[in-house]
Structure formats: structure tokens, C-alpha cells
Amino acid sequence: MTQVRRTWRRIAATTGVLAIGAALAAPAYAADEEEPDDQEVGDGAYDEFTGDNVLTIATSQSIENWNPFIQIYVIEHQFRQLQYDTLVRMSAEDYSPTPGLAEEWEESEDGLTWTFHLREATWHDGEPFTAEDVEYTYHIIANDPDISARNADVNELIESVEAIDDHTVQFNLTTPSVNLEGSDQVIVPKHIWEEHEGAWGDYGNDDFPIVGIGPYQMVDFSTDAYIRYEVFDDYWQGRAGFDEIVYQYYTEPDTSVAALEAGEVDLIGGLNEAQMGRVEGVEHISTNVAPDRRWLAFRFNTGAVTRDGQEFGSGHPALADPQVRRALHHAVDKQELIDRVRGGYGEVAHSIVPNVFSTIHWSPSDAERIDFDLEEAARLLDEAGYETGDDGVRVSPDGQPLTLTFGVDAGNAEREGAAQFITEWFEEIGVGVETTISEDVQDLFDDGELDIAFTGWGINPNPTYNLNRQSCGQLPGAPGDGSSDAFYCNEQYDSLVRAQESETDAEARAELLFEAQQILYEDSPLVFLWYPTVMEAYNSTKIADFTTQPADAGMIMGQIGSWAYHSAAPTGETVDGVSTGLLIGVGVVVLLGAVILVVVLLRRRQTAEDRE
């Protein structure tokens, strides 16, 4: 008996220690946090992570690459915005160009020469910011083999960049363009980067703290754990409110929601409806719902073909017929999708330009709108020659059943849900659907092997890039290239897109854009489903307010520019999240539980002994 009994006792002890330790652990530093901040002297390490003046943001992505020229991910975009600055920014009010590092700028008559007048500012290490830095930044872009490959379009546009004097820099272009004003290229300090002359692409930019010029300076990170920024006192626009910004890594949105409730995190984004519902009732949390500059659509394989006219893939030929696509467009109830799949968070989409860009967004009139109408859909298909076959699936005039393959991205609950609805509607009008869930749906579609797939893009204030993806010129050079969204090609559309690029009059340009959007809507190579709303939540007891973008009911986290983080100010109040009192209470309960456990075990031992 002794052997086992001893083992038992040890298990009990281990369990008890674990439970008690765990229960006490949380209050231990919950208490720590409440200690006054004037502990600074003596224990720097302690102070760094505490204090109420830290803005903690949940992120699901990690950064490993700090070189702003070769970064790819969204979180890296956030890094550039906090750490660096651009010459011209997109305003918080309405995304219009507004002074950044350049106080003012002008273009020459012929539109080929742009002169930027720079402001007085200092880098994080105290060095002054000059025109040399701008010139050097573009020197890197033009001359590093790796970086120039990533900026082929910029290098094509810019002939040269010259520093005229310390605060004036001149860009010489090859063709007139509005793209320079909208550039999100950050300027890097010459005095740091010239040490890596010729090998900029290989430079990790990982000498922490990194020298930049933005409102915050990146000081420290740990892979998949956190990224830490410290406020820059001499920021040209004035010191930001919080002493620190910490990006905390969470992959599951559910986990970050719990962290927000507990006061561990102050700002989270990318919530779904269930999570919004959960945090809305919480006292210290405010939610922010704003239109996003994104859309979700499904795209048809309108006939996969290369630029040279080589057909490839196994797409259904019926989708080359605009009338079939239009019929399928009629079979989608977009409002129902938004209500049922996104819990109402989103707006019905008709066009490739989201409604946040109100001046260039087109929406159909009542007469033009392709409404949800299954009868009309069926009528259009009948008319196009697709009669219903014996098994309820329509058959094309040459006897091929109208069964479409629908690719859904793996691990995307929203798209999977939407696909279920769309499938059922299509089946109701006699169109068969075979759903495939796969990691490489987008590749399969680009290879022409699927008929339908979802696609979603974030659109810039200048939507030319995405408009171009629907043009004949973007048909793939070789099968599988994936430069065109739907293998769509329409000369009339192309000429409109080209015309708007060099049209400098805003109203005339908007007219051209409207027309292009309308063609896309009526031809339906893509069926735009919704403009999602961003769903964000933050700790309103701790954070006074944010500047949103656009100013009226805008978003916080997905901004272009560092407006929100620069404007965020601490209220000075704290939230304990789960209160220390509760945790101590819980600790006591667990302790009691452990005691009871031990008592029971002792009693068991006695009875066992009796039995033996």
C-alpha cells in the first residue's frame, strides 16, 4: 500500500501546488500592476511592461521582416505607418491627399515635374530629416535588384529624384500621373541605410530600436508573442498620447475577445457577429462599426485564355455567355447573405469601387439593378437555351449538363456559409453545383480548373489597380499566372479604364469610372456580394477617443496613415478586467477545493487499509 499511497500523496501535492499556484499567479501580478508608477528607479524591466499608458492591440500576424522595402503583410503595413512616414498622406477625413513629410507640393504644367517642399523634422535618433533622405530612398528603390523588382511600376514612372536643397526635392516623371500623390512609399533615413549600400535588400533593418520618423519607434519584439513600440517625443505632429504601443499576438479571435474583456488587450479588430454581441454589453468596452474599403465577390471563369489566345483549364463554356452569368446574378440574394452569414454587418455591393469612396462609387438605379429573382433567373436560362433535364439539372443545347464547380477557401467560415446559400439558390433554378473546399482554391481558379470562386480585395482611393485586373491586358501571359480576376476581356471597358488614368479633372474622371463600373455590373464577370463593415472593439475606460478614417463613422485599425494611433489618448483610468478581488476569491475557492481533496484522499486511504 505504501508505494501507491506515497505516489498518491505526491500526485495530490503536485495537483494542489499547480492549482494553488495557478490561482495565485494571476492576482500576484494583478497586484503588481496596481503599484504606483514611480517605481521606475531601480527596476526598469518591471516598468517596461506595466503602467496604464500602454496601448495593447491584438494582432493575428507576426512580423519577422523589418525591412520596409520588402515587407508583405498587413501588420507590416502597420509597422511602416507607426515607424515611418510618407511625403503625402491620405487624410483622415476623406482619403484626400494631405501633407505628410512634405508641407506642400506642386506639379509642372506638363505634369512631368513634381516639386515637394519638406518640413522640419527629426529622425528618432535626433538627426535632421532632409531632402537627401528622400533622394536616397528612391535611389534604393531604383538600384537594389530585389527591391527594384518589387517596384517595377514605380521605376517605370520615375525618371529621377533630385534634392534641390535641404528641404526641396524634385521628381521627374516619364508620363503625367496622379499615382505619385497617392504613393504610400515611406522615407527611410539615409544615414542608417547608406551603411548598407548595395545590399539594402538583404539588410534586415533589425538594429533595435529601429530609427524612423513616425509617431512611435519599434523597440522590441518576440516571435508570435508581441511587438513593442515606444512613443517618439519629438514627432513633428506632436507627441502621441500613449507611452507605448504593444501588438499582442492572438490567432483565434475568440481568444482576443476574452483578452479584451479581461483588460489584457485594449483594441481588437476583425470580430464576427457573435463576438460583437458578446462584448457589446460589457461596461468598459466600446464597439466601432464602420464601412470598410473592401468587397467580397464571387468570380466566374468566363473562359480561361492567355493573352495569346491559348485556351486552358476545364471551365464550363456556359459561363462565357453574359446572359447565363446575369441569370446566376439574379439568383443571389445579397441582403439575405449579409443578414444570415454576416449577421447584418455589411452593405450590399454592386460595384468594384466600395461606397466609402463616395465620389467615384457607382450604384445602379432601380431599373438597372439585378435583383434577387429566381423566376427571372430561370427565364433567362430558358431563353439562353438551357432546358431542364430529367434529373432537375439544366442541359446546354449541345447536351452538357449545367453543373458548375465552386471552390471555397479552406478555413474561411464566412465564405463557406455564403457558398452554402448560393449553392441552394443555384440548385433551385436547375444549376448543379459541386463544392470543393481546398487550400489552393485561388490557384485552381487561376489554372482555369474551377467555374466559381470567391475573391476579395481591399481597394485604394485610386482603384486603378483593381479595375485593371478586369482588363484584356491582364489576361495571363501563361496559364495559371493569375493576373486577371475572371479572365474577362471587353475593349470598351478597357478604353474607359485607360482614359480615367490620364484624366485630371475629377468630375470627368468620375464619369468614366461610373461607366466602367456599370459595364462590369451588367456583364457580371464578378458578382459583388457585400462591402463588409469592420467590427472593432476597444477599452473605452482606458482610451479616450480615436480619430477614425473617414472622419464620419470610419474605422480605427485598417487606416491608411497613423491617424488613429497618433490621436489615441489615455484617460488615465484603469480597468482591472477581471478584478483582483474576484481572482483572490477564486484562489480561496481552489484552495478549499484542494483541502477537501486531501481530506477525501486521507479518508480513502483509511478505508483502503481497512479493506486490506
Binding site: N272, E273, A274, G277, E424, T435, I437, E439
Partner: protein, 307 residues
Amino acid sequence: MSTQSTPRPQSRPPSARALRMRRWRQSAADLWREFRAQRAGMVGLIGLSIFVAIAVITPLVAPSDALSVTQATGGRMAPPDGEYWLGTDEFGRSVALLTLYGTRVTLIIGIAAALVAMVIGTLVGIVAGHFEGRVSWILMRITEWFMNLPTLVLAIVLVVVLGRSIAVLVIAIGITSWAGTARVIRAQTRGIEGRPYLERARALGAGHWSQMGRHVLPNVTPLVLASTIMAIAGAILTESTLAFLGLYDPNNLSWGMLLNRAWSNGAMSAGAWWYVLPPGLMILVVVLCFTLCGRALEVALNPRLRR
């Protein structure tokens, strides 16, 4: 299972085949008696019959639009009420009905995958046990290789590569779980091969296949049966895990897929326990039933275990 009904030829002595059949029937009856004596095993067996009944009856009885999202009428993840005993999912469908529907696919995948594993495992085990030397060495290295692989990792990769469908899930689970059986069967085969009657058969010139098919296979069959039933339990758990990780056939609802949908649609945030509990409990109970049956069968087969 009864031995009574067999008409016995009166005039001449029973043929070898008839003799074998009779012996087989006799041992089956013994086995059943031993099995029946164990309460846990019977509980498992009864539980399994209930699950099979659910799997068969649900599609026949349940409303045909139970799985339709466009026809669903319930609220979004609404808690249980009079109409929906177990609440609704994110599209307003009845969780109770979804759970019942999930039984069929879960059982089919579990049983089919275990059968695949058993066929491969038995074949490899017997062949490796029968032949000496190189064949055996190679087969055992392959078996060992499969035992060493992180099975879940391999199954995930297989499903991702081959695409999500019932057939692929069955193959992926089957291929990653036969090695243990092969090893056990091989050991058993070695034991049988050493028995005198097999040596006699060999001396009489019986070919390899006849030795393996007529003598070894019947002798390892009970063991195969017991381990198949245990393997079904394992296969169902693997299927649920894969489905939970998003590797499910979207057109065929299983319990693991339900749990995946609950997880990825924020059931945890919404506190929708009615969406998380039922499918998981079903998995637990069905796996438990198979395990109880399998254990009872093993005990029935192995007198040493009877105490």
C-alpha cells in the same frame, strides 16, 4: 449464431469443409456466450445498435429541408426552446437534427477506415509472418516507418493533397493506422506457424497461399475482429479531429464538422453550449461503445483475461 439449425448429413461422414464449418460455428457460439457474460460489452453493443438505428432512420424520418440553409427558420444560434430542443446553429437550423444527421457519415467513415486499416494490416502481418528473410524484413521496415510517422500530420497532409471527400478521409485514416495491427498479426502468425499441424501441412506440400489462407487466416480472424472494433473507435476519433481541423467533406455532415463550424462561427464567444455539447457527447458515447465492445471481445477471446 445458433448451431442447431444445421442439417447434418446422416449417411456419410461429414466432409472436411463441413467439419470446419461446424467447428467454426461452435467457436462462434462459445465466443458469443463469453461476450454476453460481460455487462460492459453488452452495454456497448446495445448502444451501438441504437446508433446504427439513428444513422439509418434519421434521413428517412427527418424533414427533408433540415439541412437547408435557405429554408431554415430558427434564429441565429438561438438557445434551446420548445421548437428547437437543442437550439439552432449559425444559420438557424436545428442542432438536434444536425447532430442526428451527423451519425451516418461519422459511422460510415469510421467503419470503412477501420476496415481499410484491417485489410492492409492483416495482409502485411500474415505475409510478413509467413515469409522469412527479405520479404519479412522489407515489410517490417515499411510497417515500422508507418509507426514512426506522426500519424495525425500524415493524415492531414494526405487529406489536403487528395482533396476533401469521404473516400479520401477513409483512405487517409486507413493508411495511417494499419501498422499496429500488422505488427500484432505478424506476431500471432509466427506463433501459429510453429504449431505442429502447420508443419504437417507444409510437409504435405501445401503452397504458401494455401498455408496462409487456410490455416493462418482462420486462426488470426478472432484477433483481427477484436482489433477492428477497437480500430473503429480510433478511426472515429481521428475523423473527428481531422474534421475539427477543417478537413471534412463539405457535402457530408459529420460530428467533427459540426464542431468545426461551431468553433469557427464564434459559438465559444456566444456561449452557445448547445452547439458544442451534443456532437461531442455523441462522439464520446459512440467511441466508448466501440471500445467497450472491443474490450469485451478481447476478454472473450483470451481466457487468461477472464477473472
